[in-house]
């Protein structure tokens, strides 16, 4: 196989979205072919990168040829690659969906159609930049690109509720950034480096500066990742945004913030993760899991349910921290990463399908959704598959992820965390079951004539959900191998 080198692929992944977005913006029109070609190219690049990483493992690239700590590095890690892949898949699906969703060329929808793609690509670029970054400050800038693009996407419909949600999201995101930046400042003040590897080697887990810095970084990211009890912005932003936007936001943007937390605590800050802090993070996760689950159970509107389910799912992901305190970190990190990837695919599928269903039903209330009939059945199929993945039923990716975490909990005898995970899974069962039950039993006839559901509205969600289900087997194999675990992360 003669693929372009990893360095070239990374450059493509981070610059192509920005270039394409600028081009689209400057041209002022919306050439779909260009858009989709860019999305496709990005996906291909991500896949190629995945293959390269599979073959070569971790690689590091100096930007401008400057060595750290002076210059900035890109680090292509397996976990980052998994996220890049998930981003590419969701990005492509969202682009296709968006092209089919904003149909009209005039009016507000025309405006949305025109602006959606540049913003989408910007968010994509920000995410890609984030997943390869290995520098505290560079991450800050990448986070801001991502946040700002997301905010604009939330505000896309320019309806009052959407604007309100966007504003709250923006403030929350910036708040998180400020606190994160404080952490960067503290760590820079302590060590005078920003590079992850340098930081990892220099880190003295016992001095106050590093501790305070770590706390600030974490708390800032907690706010950005909407971890309970700082989830105050998420339901509104995700529930009010346009469906493709919610898919990106819920699937990737929140995950990116969380991924960063993984990256930090399993990378440069790994030496600092002690029982107390791990437990605190785990308690937050438990709270998120239960609280988000209960609230999801109570929602009456489809997208709000899905939004609260995000709160809940990230609670699950938070449990990696207590599990990583004493045990073998590699499988925990693998589990966390796979959980994020699974969530990205499944949640994006769920939101995309939800958008289709809402359009087909003309209502967002769960009780008034059309049933498993007509073309909406494809959307329901996607919902069912995505639900299975979110719950973590075998053989989905979610199962593989939860499997790893459960195993870690068992080997460490972390019974409490085990119980929390099980309870959370049950809650997930409950609210998704409720959704399916309500929707399938109380199916409303839907408006007549039924809105046209084009393949672009149906296929992306279904394919994402299928991917979430199918890749699980492969991932499972991969993990059981043990060989993948051994080289999963450079830091561990």
């Amino acid at each position: 196989m003669d693929l372009p080198s990893t360095a070239v692929l990374v450059v493509v992944l981070v610059t192509l979205p920005l270039a394409a977005a600028t081009l689209l913006f400057a041209s002022g029109r919306q050439p779909r072919t260009l858009t989709l070609a860019a999305a496709l190219l990005l996906t291909v690049a991500a896949l190629a990168l995945g293959w390269n990483v599979h073959i070569e493992g971790v690689s590091v690239h100096r930007i401008g040829g400057w060595a750290a700590p002076l210059g900035i590095h890109w680090q292509v890690t397996p976990s980052g690659t998994v996220m890049l892949l998930a981003t590419a898949l969701v990005g492509l699906a969202g682009a296709v969906y968006g092209a089919g969703y904003f149909l009209h060329r005039a009016g507000p929808e025309g405006r949305m159609a025109r602006v959606f793609m540049p913003l989408w690509l910007f968010a994509w670029g920000g995410l890609n930049a984030l997943f390869v970054a290995a520098d505290l400050f560079n991450l800050y800038v990448a986070l801001e690109v991502m946040t700002l693009a997301s905010v604009a996407l939330v505000a896309l419909s320019a309806r009052r509720m959407a604007l309100q949600a966007a504003m709250r999201y923006l403030l929350a995101g910036l708040f998180g950034s400020v606190i994160y930046l404080l952490g960067v400042a503290l760590l820079y003040g302590q060590y005078g480096v920003l590079d992850f590897d340098a930081l990892a080697t220099m880190l003295d887990p016992d001095d106050p500066g590093s501790r305070a810095g770590a706390v600030a970084l974490t708390v800032g990211l907690l706010a950005k990742a909407a971890i309970f009890p700082l989830h105050f912005w998420l339901p509104g932003a995700h529930g009010r945004a346009e469906p493709p936007v919610s898919a990106l936001l819920s699937g990737l943007v929140v995950a990116a913030a969380f991924y960063l937390m993984l990256r930090l605590w399993f990378g440069p800050l790994a030496g600092m993760l002690n029982f107390g802090a791990g437990t605190l993070l785990g308690v937050l996760g438990a709270g998120a899991l239960l609280w988000g689950g209960v609230l999801a159970l109570l929602q009456r509107r489809l997208k709000m349910l899905v939004a609260y389910s995000t709160v809940s799912q990230f609670g699950f992901a938070m449990l990696v921290f207590p599990l990583a305190v004493s045990g073998n970190r590699a499988p925990v990190l693998a589990g966390g990463t796979l959980l994020l990837a699974n969530h990205a695919l499944a949640k994006a599928a769920l939101f995309l399908a939800a958008g289709t269903l809402v359009r087909a039903s003309g209502s967002e209330r769960i009780g008034q959704l059309v049933g498993f009939s007509g073309r909406a059945r494809w959307a329901w199929l996607a919902v069912i598959l995505a639900s299975a993945a979110l719950i973590g039923l075998p053989p989905t990716l979610g199962f593989s992820a939860k499997w790893l975490l459960l195993q870690a909990a068992v080997t460490e005898g972390a019974w409490w965390w085990l119980a929390v995970m099980l309870g959370g899974t049950l809650l997930t069962f409950a609210y998704l079951g409720r959704l399916l039950e309500l929707a399938l039993l109380d199916a409303a006839p839907g408006p007549s004539p039924p809105p046209v559901l084009t393949p672009a509205l149906l296929a992306p969600a279904l394919l994402l959900a299928l991917l979430a289900c199918v890749t699980g087997l492969w991932a499972f194999d991969f993990e059981l191998d043990g060989k993948a675990l051994a080289r999963l992360e450079p830091g561990s």
Binding site: V11, A19, F25, G65, I72, F122, A158, G192
Partner: protein, 311 residues
């Protein structure tokens, strides 16, 4: 440090803190905004005291220019602040623990920052300067060592423009009747100076405090001033030309960055013999683009509307 210096710093920082508090909590919104703008001015002085003239320049060109303009223009678009019957928030007993915790937090933060050894990268930068292609360390960091940050930062700005424009047409640009002929007269006099100083700061950036960002901010201030004095975005500039001007900086940056891949074998690497000219090109493109982007931010939306004729 001389006692006078210490006193100066103390007074400066005290005023800043007071103004910051006012800027957030002043009862009257306008008072808050003015306080915040004054806070910005003093911040620029604080940067000077911290031997960071680059930042001072940027802060000055923004704080005295575009930030204030944006805030005041926004304020003009807001109705009166709606607050219920004025809540005289008496110091409730239940607030005390939170207050105490906040104090603890601040104290901890202070204590931690005081304990930081702050080794820094000063020496590393100095050592790498000969290879950088510019004389000013800050410019070298911005456009060479950490150029990727700067590219993303331009991206953020462009993104902000797209985000604002995505919300609809320009909201802050529409105008009232001109108050006096004095205003256009002033702008006619100042505008060439704005342009000239923009170039001046770009030139300075190569070997001292200056560079694309303050230059762009200054240019933007000039353009905004012209808009405020009644100028319009010309019809033939709306649409694609303006969009290209807005996006051009990032585009140029990207081309140079990716070009480094072919020319020097690494993303964002400048071939040594062309480093300074490439940096100059990037700087000019970025500066001009930043100016246009900041102006676009001030417009607050896409200028598409056909308006009444000039006043």
């Amino acid at each position: 440090m001389h006692p006078v210096e210490v006193t100066f710093d103390a007074l400066l920082l005290f005023s800043m803190v007071v103004l910051a508090w006012q800027g957030v909590h002043a009862r009257n919104m306008f008072r808050a905004v003015v306080s915040f703008m004054m806070f910005g001015l003093l911040t620029a002085v604080a940067w000077v005291r911290l031997e960071a003239p680059d930042i001072a320049l940027a802060e000055a060109s923004l704080g005295a220019g575009l930030t204030g303009a944006l805030l005041l223009a926004t304020l003009g678009r807001l109705g009166p602040e709606r607050r219920g019957p004025r809540r005289r928030r008496a110091m409730k007993l239940s607030m005390l623990p939170w207050l105490a915790l906040g104090l603890v937090g601040t104290t901890v933060l202070l204590a931690v920052t005081l304990s930081l050894p702050a080794p820094g990268l000063g020496e590393a930068v100095l050592a790498a300067m000969p290879a950088a292609g510019v004389d000013s360390p800050v410019t070298a960091v911005l456009l060479n060592f950490r150029a990727w940050d700067t590219l993303l930062e331009i991206g953020v700005m462009l993104l902000a423009v797209i985000a604002l424009w995505s919300l609809g047409q320009d909201v802050l640009a529409s105008t009232s009747r001109l108050p006096a002929p004095a205003l256009p007269a002033l702008v006619r006099v100042l505008f060439p100076l704005f342009v000239l100083s923009t170039f001046y700061l770009l030139w300075r950036g190569g070997h001292g405090p200056g560079g694309a960002f303050p230059a762009g901010a200054l240019l933007a201030a000039g353009l905004v001033l012209a808009l405020l004095a009644g100028a319009r975005v010309p019809e033939r500039m709306r649409g694609a030309p303006l969009r290209w001007a807005v996006g051009g900086g990032l585009f140029a940056f990207l081309i140079v960055a990716v070009g480094g891949m072919w020319a020097a074998g690494a993303f964002f690497a400048y071939p040594p013999q062309h480093a300074s000219i490439l940096i100059a090109i990037v700087e000019i493109a970025a500066g001009l683009s930043i100016g246009v982007m900041l102006t676009a931010l001030f417009l607050g939306g896409e200028p598409t509307e056909v308006r009444r004729g000039r006043t």
